[in-house]
Symmetry: D3
Subunit: 238 residues, 6 copies
C-alpha cells in the first residue's frame, strides 16, 4: 500500500507545533499534521458552569469550528445556519473531555479554561490535531496563571495527545489523511497520556464489522504515534 | 461489590422487548433493561438524503429524545429550548451509524427508514437500549416492506445489539444502571453483530486513564451481554 | 350513524387511568381514551414565573408534546424543527389554564407544578385526555406535597375533566375519534368541574356556521361524558 | 356598574372602519374600537399551502402582530426575540379560521389571501377587532380580483364579524376594554356571520367556573354587538 | 429630469410630523415624507446595557421594523422568519447611533430610551424619516422626564435630522422616493445637527464609482433639506 | 501626536498580502495590516440568488467572521449564539457591495463568487483589510475561471481597495489601529478604485459632529492610503 510522499504505514505526517501564534490568547498553538492546520487558543475565565459554583473546582471546555474554505468543498458557516452541527458538537465534547483529563481540577481552582480549536485547513485528523495542539495552548495558559501567581501549584498532572488510525484496503495505517480516511473500512481515534494509558477510544466500522485483533493492531499503531506527538509537545516545555 | 437486586458483575438486568407497541409505525419495539424504558419506532420514507439521490441506495437514520420526566431530575424539553443538545445529537448519530451497519443499503433501495428512540424512563444505558430495541423495530419495518412486496430481498445482513460496561470502584461490571454509571471510573459502550464482531467501541476514562488490559476485560463482558441480547432479539423473529 | 365498535352517540370510548406510571415524577398518570394514549407527569419546582415572585402564590403550567410516531403520519420532531408549533402552544396553554382552575394558588404557595403531557399514540381527543389525565397527575403530586408536609392544606378546590364533542354528518357525537374528528362539521372541547360548571368552552364551525341549539346539544353531551370521566378519576382517590 | 364614558352594559365603543388605508395592499382596513386600533391588510398570493396543491381550492391565512409601543407596557418585538409567542400564534390561527369560513374556497381557486393584522394601539379586544376589520380587507381584495377578472364569481358566501363579552364584577358586559378585560371573571370571544349563526365560541373562566346560563347571557350580548358591527361593515360595500 | 408632482431637484416631498400619535408611549411622532409613513415611539427604561452599569451614563437605542404590507411587494414578517434581516439591523444601528449624538448621556443619567420606528408605508427614505421623526419622539420623552422631575436638566444638546440624496440619471436629487432610489447611480444618507455639522455620512456607488465633486454636490443638497426638516421639527417645540 | 512605532499621521502600518494561503479555495489571500490579520478566500458557486436566475448575470457576496480569540477580549462564537450579530452583518454587506463594484456581473455570467473573510487577529481596520484582501482572493478566483475556460473574458473592470481614517485627539490619522480607533472622535471608512473614484464612504461622529472640512481632510488621507494599497495589490498580478 503506497501512501502519499512514500509515508510508511506507521509513520506520522510532518508535524509542527507553533505556540504563541495569536497575541491576545492566554496560550495558543498553531498545530499542523501535514496539510491539516488548526489554531488552538486558550482563554481563562473567572466563572465556572453552574454545577461547579462554590465547589472550589475548575473546568476545561472546548469549542471547535472550521473556516468555510478549510475543506475540499466549502462548508456553510455555522453562524449563518444558526447552529452547530451534530458533528461539531460531538468533536468539541470529545476535545473538552480529553483535555479535562490532563488536570487536577481542584488545583486549578474555580475558573474555567476555554480551548478554541479552529480549523484553518482540513486534511483528515482535525479532532486529534485539536487535542494535541489544544494541550499545548492549555499548558501555556496554565504557565501564565502560575507566572501571574493566580495559582501556586501546577494543576497539570499528565500530558495528553491524540492520533487517528484506520484500516484502509486491509492495511492498518497511522495518522490518516483525508483521502485515506474517506475510504477507510475502520476508523479509530485514540487519546492517551504520555504513559500510553488510555483516555478515550472511539472505533467505528465504516464498511463491515471488525475483530478484536484489528482493534489491538490499531491500538499499537496509536501508541507509536502518540509517543512521537508527546515528544514533540515536550520539546516546547523544556 | 454488591449490585442492586444481587445482580452478578456479568449479569444483565431483566430485559424485555415488546414489538408492535404503537399501531401507526411500520415497526416498533418497547424495550426495557430494568428501569430503563425506551420506545423505538420505525418509519419508512420514500425520500433519501440529497447525497444518495439517484444512487439506488437507501439510508437509515435515528432520532433520540427523552421525555422531560424520564430522568431523576426533570430535563427541559428540547422543543422548548429550541434545539437538540450536543448529547442528544451524539447519541442519535451513534444509533443511526450502528443500525446502518445491519443492512445492505443497495438492497434496501432508494428509501430511508427513520428510527425514533424515545426514552420513557431512564436508568442508565439508554443509548445501548435504543440500539438493541431499534434493531427490532427496523427488522419489523423491513418485514412489512417484504410482505407488501416493496422489496424482494431481505436487506438485513446482520443482527445488531449493544451494551454498556464500566469500571466501578475497581470492578468491571456489565450493563450499568444510573447509580453505577454516575460513579464509574471507566465507561464503555459496545455495538456488535451476532458473531460478536465489532461495529463500534467507545470507551472513556471518567476519572483516570486506564490500561489496555481494562479495555480487554470490558470487551469480554460486553461479548457475554451482547450474546444474551442477541438471543432475546432472535426469539422474536423465529 | 354507526360508530366504531358499535359505540352509541353519547358513549365514551373505554377509558383507563393508570397512576404512578413513571417512577421519577412527583405524580403521573398514563391515560387512555380508546387508542389515544397520553403520559401525564407532574414536577414540583421551587420557582414561579417572574410576575408571581414574592406574592406567596403558586402556578401550574403545562407542556404538550407528541412522539413522532404517535399519529397516522409521522410528525416531525419539534426539537429538530427548533420550535413548538402554533397547535402545540395553543394546546398546552389550554391545559395549563384548565388545570390552574382546580387549585387555590395562594394555598399552593410560591411553587410551580409543571404538567408534562406526552402523546404516545393519537386517535383524536389528545388535548382533553391530557386535561383529564393531567388532573390525576397533579392531584398525586399535591398528595405527595401534603405527605412530605411541604404544604399543610390541600389546595385543590375542584376536580377538573374535559371531553370533546362534535357534529358529524348531522349527528351530535360524544368523544370523537380521529376518523370522526377529521370529518366533523362542528368540533367542540369542554372543560368542566365535577359540578358540571364550565371552565372553558371552545367550539368551532369546521364546515358551516351552527346554531345556538347545536351548541346546547353538544354541551349536554359533554356533561354526560365529563360526569363519567370525573367518576373514573374519583375511584383513584378514595 | 359604571363604564368609561357612561357606556351601557350592552353598548359597543365607538367603531370606525377605514378601508384603503395603505396603498400597496390588495385590500386594507384601519379598524378602531375605541382606543383599540388595528391595521388589517390583505395580500393575494399565487401559491397555496402544500396540502392544497392541485386541488383547485384556495386558502386564507392570517398573521397578527403588535407594535412594541401599542400596549400599556412596551412589549418586546417578536422579531428580536426570534419567535412569535404562543398568544400571537393562538390569535392568528383564530383569525385565519374565522375568515376562512366566509368564503367558498373552491370558488376562490388555487390562490391564498394573507391577512396581516397589526395592532397600532391596544385597549382590549384586539383579536375580535382584527377579525371584523380583516373581513373588510379581505372583501376589498376579493373585489379587486373580480375587477381584474382573476376570478369570475364572488367566493364570499357570508359576512363575518366578532366581538368580546365578559362577566365583570358580576355584570355581563359587551365589548370589554383593557381595564374591564383584566379584571373579568369570565372572558368570551364570539365569531358569527350576519345571520348570527356561530363560527367560533371561546369562553374561559378567569376566576371561577360559570354556569350554562352565563354562557347564554354572554351569547345574547354578542348577538347584539355583532349585528351592529355587521351593519357598519355593510355600509362600506353598498 | 421630471420628478413626480413636478417636484424640483432640490425640493423635499411634503412632510408632516404628528406628535402624540399613540397614547401609551412616553413620546411619539407619526412622520410622513410623501408616501413614506413611519410611526416613531419612545419608551424610557430604568436599565442600561451591561457595559454602562454603575457609570451614571444613559443610552439611546433604536429598533426598526416594517409592516409586511408597507412595501410594494409584501415582505415576510421578521417575527415569522425568526430573525431580523441584515438590512433591518444595519438601519436600526444607524438610527440609534444618530439619536445618541443628540444627548449628553451623562445628564440623561443611568436610564435607556428606546426608540421604536415602525414603517406603516414605504416609499423610499424610511431610515432618514425614522431619524427625523425619532428625534421628535425622543424630545417629547425627555420633556416628560423633565416634567415628572426624573431629571433636572435637559440632556438634549443638539437637534438631529436626516435626509437622503442621490444621483439619478446624472442628476443630483434631494429626498428620493422609491422609484428614484431604485434606479439611482449613487445613493447617500446624511445625518446632521441644526448647525449642519455632520453626524453621519453614508454614500454608495450603486452603478459606477463617483467623484469627490459628486459627494460635495450631494452634501449641499442635504444641507438644504436638513435645514427644512429642522425647521419643521422646531415648530413642535416652541 | 505620537503613534505606535513612530508612524507618521499619514502612514500605513506594514502591509502584507499573501495569496494562495489555503489550498482548497479558488483564490485566497492572507492579508496583514500590522497586527490585523485576515484570511480571505473565494469560492465559485454555480448558483445565483433567486432574483438573478435566468438573467445571465452573476453575483459576489461576502461572509465575515472573527475567531473567538482574535480580539483583546474573547468574543463569543456566533455559531454558539445561534446568529450573526448586527455588526457582522453590516460588515459583510459592506464587503460584498464593495467587491461587486469591481466586476461586470454580466461578463461573469450566471455564477456566484463567495468571499469568506475570517479575522485571525484583530487590531483595528478589519473591514477595510477584508475588502483589500478580498479583492485579491476574488481576482485569483477569476484568473482560475479564465484558465479553466469557464469564462472567456475578464469580468474585472476595476481594482478595489479600502482604508480607514479618523480624527483622534484633534489629529487626522490614516489607518487607525485598535487603540486609536477606540478613542477616535470621528471614524471613517473609504472604498475606492485605483483611479481614486469613490465606491463607498461611511463617516461617523463618535463624540461630536464634524465639519465638511474634516470630511475632506479624511478623504485626502484615504486617497494616499488607498493608492499604496492598490500598488501592493498590483505587484501580485504583474
Amino acid at each position: 500500500m503506497e501512501r502519499f510522499a512514500n509515508r510508511g504505514h506507521n509513520e506520522l505526517r510532518p508535524i509542527s507545533l507553533e505556540p504563541g501564534y495569536v497575541k491576545n490568547a492566554a496560550g495558543s498553538c498553531f498545530v499542523k499534521f501535514g496539510d491539516t492546520h488548526v489554531l488552538c487558543a486558550a482563554t481563562v475565565e473567572d466563572k465556572v458552569p453552574p454545577f461547579l459554583r462554590n465547589t472550589g473546582r475548575g473546568w476545561i471546555n472546548a469549542e471547535y469550528g472550521m473556516l468555510p474554505c478549510a475543506a475540499n468543498e466549502r462548508v456553510e458557516r455555522e453562524a449563518v445556519k444558526g447552529k452547530q452541527s451534530g458533528r461539531t458538537q460531538e468533536i468539541q465534547r470529545l476535545i473538552g473531555r480529553a483535555l479535562r483529563a490532563s488536570l487536577d481540577l481542584a488545583v486549578l481552582g474555580e475558573r474555567q479554561i476555554k480551548i478554541d480549536c479552529d480549523v484553518i485547513q482540513a486534511d483528515g485528523g482535525t479532532r486529534t490535531a485539536s487535542i494535541s495542539g489544544g494541550f499545548v495552548a492549555l499548558a501555556f495558559a496554565v504557565q501564565s496563571l502560575l507566572k501571574r501567581r493566580k495559582i501556586n501549584k501546577n494543576p497539570i498532572v499528565r500530558q495528553i495527545a491524540a492520533i487517528s488510525c484506520g484500516l484502509v484496503d486491509g492495511h492498518a495505517l497511522l495518522d490518516l489523511d483525508y483521502a485515506e480516511d474517506s475510504t477507510a473500512e475502520v476508523d479509530a481515534n485514540f487519546v492517551m497520556d504520555d504513559n500510553l494509558d488510555i483516555i478515550e477510544v472511539q472505533s467505528t466500522a465504516e464498511q463491515r464489522p471488525f475483530s478484536k485483533q484489528t482493534l489491538s493492531t490499531l491500538l499499537e499503531l496509536a501508541e507509536k504515534g502518540i509517543k512521537e506527538v508527546s515528544n514533540a509537545q515536550r520539546t516546547l516545555f523544556s
